[in-house]
């Protein structure tokens, strides 16, 4: 078992980041490109090598020196490679590599080419650290690092105010989640005395009857962290705004990899959730609610990337739903297929935007299938995959999740229902997008679309193939492979009937959604408007994304601002601190006025004072005060003590 050292995997992107970040400005473009592509390629090669030789036993690699050692607590800098992280690594480096290649074409004309790629490599570095982490603290480093890279890349066009604000928003909202994660880390240290995943598992296993209690608290804190990073209710608000970044970034970070870190984290720490049914239920409810909530918003969005963003939130909800019903492998399976088809859809959208010269509004597109044939083809694959139509990848994973939910009993039925409705909505808005972009008549005159270069189309085709065939591995194989890491997928009451019926129902739902979209957006283009007119309030509510941003602004941001300005600004800073400062200044001034006569600048006066000081010191040191004066300072202090 000669696996190359694990630390090589994050090392290459880090090297790429450092080289491009420091020297990139001065290098010619082809060298920047080579460097930027070599990093993920090398990482991917190492991961492939590891995957080929992986024999089922987790590989742990620990830095020989202790990283943090406080009392009994010892935290090492360790990496671990097991089934879960292997799958994740394949997705991260593989999709990452494709998106790097795509970016070469997409970003070719942009300023800050080297900066872009150095950030992208930085992201890949931190993502690899996150995935490979052998304990929660290393994971936290990756967690924060991807947040940083995400912030930098969302604000890549920092000249644009909206982009800069979106970056800040993402950063701040993520802080709320990170707070949860940190509290969970502290609780873990306090209760288990370790942060290493395997040790936590053994310590929990040691007392099998331990349910709920502090574990629930830890799990809920972790869930808060996960909702922040993975854009779940209530912390999803940053993700739609994050679309301000370049489209490949949206594909890589905000669809395929980083936002799935929450799912990964829950799967990684599933032992905690397994001992807290309550937390698990909350996970499922959050997932289901987010899924349907985001899907409804997605129906009414007109920005191509925002539709995809809400779709991403919705699909992430699916993954949480899967985790919530303890079907972690199903969640990871969906994570993988979603990475393929959502990256594909984002990149295809990017190709459309690129072809239209930056246009993102769905209402100005239409009939592009002739002009952008390859993009059209791959988008079709993506849409079919996300809608869950066999034999595309999405069908298998979504089916697995819905099935896993369904078999959970009555509560599971409800979850299944929500999931099914979400699937319908997903199908509707995805085909809506498909119809509005590619079919029908061109809605705008002044667009001159041109097909993208092959550096962009190549990755698209590759991802399309993955989106087509990624699910054929089947949930049974996948979950049995993952079983050592995430536990077996417990599908009781497995009856072939039920599974087949549910699959047929899911396909039927997806086809129904297609039909609705066909009617509304192709056959009868005027229908949506009448529909919106029929229920204007509902339409307005959805179109304004349920006013969540406004509510957050009114409930949280505005009062906080008011508090800062009035109390902190006027009272604390102005009156108390300012007054104190003024008082101190006045005192200093007064003292200075008195003392400045001393500071005459005359050397001899200074010397006189020095001599006086020396005389005083000598007097103090050499004269036996105790003998002269019975009440010396020492006796005085002693007397006070008694």
């Amino acid at each position: 078992m000669n696996v190359l050292p694990l630390w090589l995997i994050p090392l290459f992107p880090l090297a790429g980041f450092l080289l491009n970040g420091i020297r990139g400005r001065c290098l010619p473009k082809w060298q920047v490109t080579t460097l930027a592509l070599a990093a993920p390629l090398a990482s991917f090669a190492v991961v492939l090598n590891a995957a080929r030789r992986f024999a089922g036993m987790p590989i742990v690699e620990t830095c020989p020196f202790p990283w943090i050692e406080v009392g009994a607590l010892r935290i090492d800098f360790s990496f671990v490679l097991d089934q879960l992280s292997l799958v994740m690594l394949l997705v991260v480096t593989g999709v990452g590599l494709l998106i790097h290649i795509y970016s070469v074409g997409y970003m070719a004309e942009e300023k800050g080419y080297a900066r872009y790629f150095s950030y992208l490599n930085l992201f890949l570095f931190f993502m690899n650290v996150l995935v490979l982490a052998g304990n929660a603290l290393v994971m936290f480093i990756g967690w924060e690092g991807v947040g940083l890279a995400s912030y930098l890349l969302i604000g890549f066009y920092f000249e644009k105010n909206s982009a800069a604000n979106a970056g800040k928003k993402a950063f701040l909202v993520n802080r709320v989640g990170d707070f949860g994660f940190l509290v969970a880390l502290f609780l873990l240290i306090a209760n288990f005395g370790t942060l290493t995943f395997t040790e936590i598992a053994t310590k929990i296993a040691a007392c099998a009857g331990w349910q709920g209690g502090v574990i629930t608290v830890i799990a809920l804190c972790l869930l808060l962290g996960a909702t922040g990073k993975s854009a779940q209710l209530p912390l999803y608000v940053w993700l739609p705004d994050a679309m301000e970044g370049p489209t490949p970034v949206s594909a890589l970070i905000h669809a395929a990899t980083m936002v799935t870190a929450g799912v990964y984290m829950i799967a990684r720490l599933h032992v905690l959730f397994a001992h807290s049914p309550f937390a698990l239920g909350i996970v499922a409810i959050v997932g289901a609610a987010t899924a349907i909530f985001a899907a409804t918003i997605g129906l009414a969005q007109n920005d191509i990337k925002r539709v995809l963003a809400y779709s991403t939130i919705s699909q992430l909800g699916y993954m949480f739903l899967a985790c919530g019903v303890a079907a972690y492998s199903a969640g990871i399976f969906h994570l993988m297929t979603h990475a393929f088809f959502k990256a594909l859809l984002f990149l295809a959208a990017g190709s459309v935007i690129h072809g239209l010269g930056g246009e993102q509004d769905l209402r100005k597109m239409g009939g592009l299938w002739k002009k952008l044939p390859v993009t059209f083809a791959v988008t079709t694959v993506g849409v079919l995959a996300i809608s869950g139509i066999p034999p595309f990848a999405g069908f298998y994973s979504k089916d697995a999740i819905l099935y896993a939910a369904f078999v959970q009993g009555p509560g599971g039925m409800a979850l299944w229902l929500v999931g099914a409705i979400t699937a319908l909505l997903t199908s509707v808005y995805m085909f809506r997008l498909w119809y509005m972009v590619f079919l029908g008549k061109p809605r705008s005159e002044d667009v001159h679309p041109r097909e993208s270069p092959w550096t962009m189309l190549g990755p698209l085709v590759a991802l399309a193939l993955l989106a087509l065939g990624g699910g054929w591995i089947g949930i049974e194989h996948f979950s049995s492979f993952l079983a050592p890491s995430t536990g077996p997928l417990s599908l009781e009451a497995v009856t072939p009937h039920l599974e087949r019926n549910l699959s047929i129902a899911a396909v039927g739902i997806a086809l129904l959604g297609w039909l609705i979209a066909h009617i509304l957006y192709y056959a009868k283009p005027s229908a949506p408007a009448t529909l919106a007119g029929a229920a204007p309030r509902v339409y307005k509510l959805i179109a304004h994304k349920y006013y969540v941003d406004e509510i957050y602004s009114a409930v949280l941001v505005k009062p906080l601002l008011l508090f800062s300005r009035c109390f902190l600004g006027w009272v604390v800073d102005g009156a108390i601190l300012g007054g104190l400062a003024w008082l101190l200044a006045a005192l200093a001034n007064l003292g200075g006025m008195i003392l400045q006569r001393w500071q005459s600048g005359n050397l001899r006066s200074y010397a006189a004072w020095i001599a006086a000081g020396a005389a005083a010191l000598l007097l103090y040191a050499l004269v036996p005060w105790n003998a002269l004066w019975p009440l010396s300072l020492d006796t005085l202090l002693k007397g006070m003590g008694h």
Partner: protein, 107 residues
């Protein structure tokens, strides 16, 4: 005659001399107006201290006391080089060596 020759000198006399020289050095520092003379007074104080070092080295039969004086000499040499350079620099700017007139940092 020989008895007189063998007469011992108490070490405290050396120390008293050292103290007197030191005090005279301080007085020089306080009451001399010329920068160079003030500097000379500092050297006088250093020498006074050196004398007490050598005396104590003799008292305790310790070589290190003498080595300390050796170090003081080296440091004093360095100090006088820098100090005199400073005096030259001051004189170049102020055209005077009277300390009472050199009481501003700015020109």
């Amino acid at each position: 005659m020989n008895g007189f020759l063998a007469q011992q000198v108490p070490l405290s006399w050396f120390l008293l001399l050292s103290a007197a020289l030191f005090a005279l050095g301080i007085v020089g520092f306080l009451f001399k107006r010329n920068l160079i003379t003030i500097f000379l007074s500092i050297e006088l104080m250093l020498n006074a201290v050196n004398l007490s070092f050598v005396t104590f080295a003799s008292q305790w039969h310790a070589v290190k006391g003498q080595i300390f004086v050796f170090f003081v000499m080296m440091v004093a040499a360095a100090e006088s080089a820098v100090g005199l350079a400073i005096i030259i620099a001051i004189f170049r700017v102020r055209a005077t060596l009277a300390v009472d007139q050199i009481d501003r940092m700015k020109r």
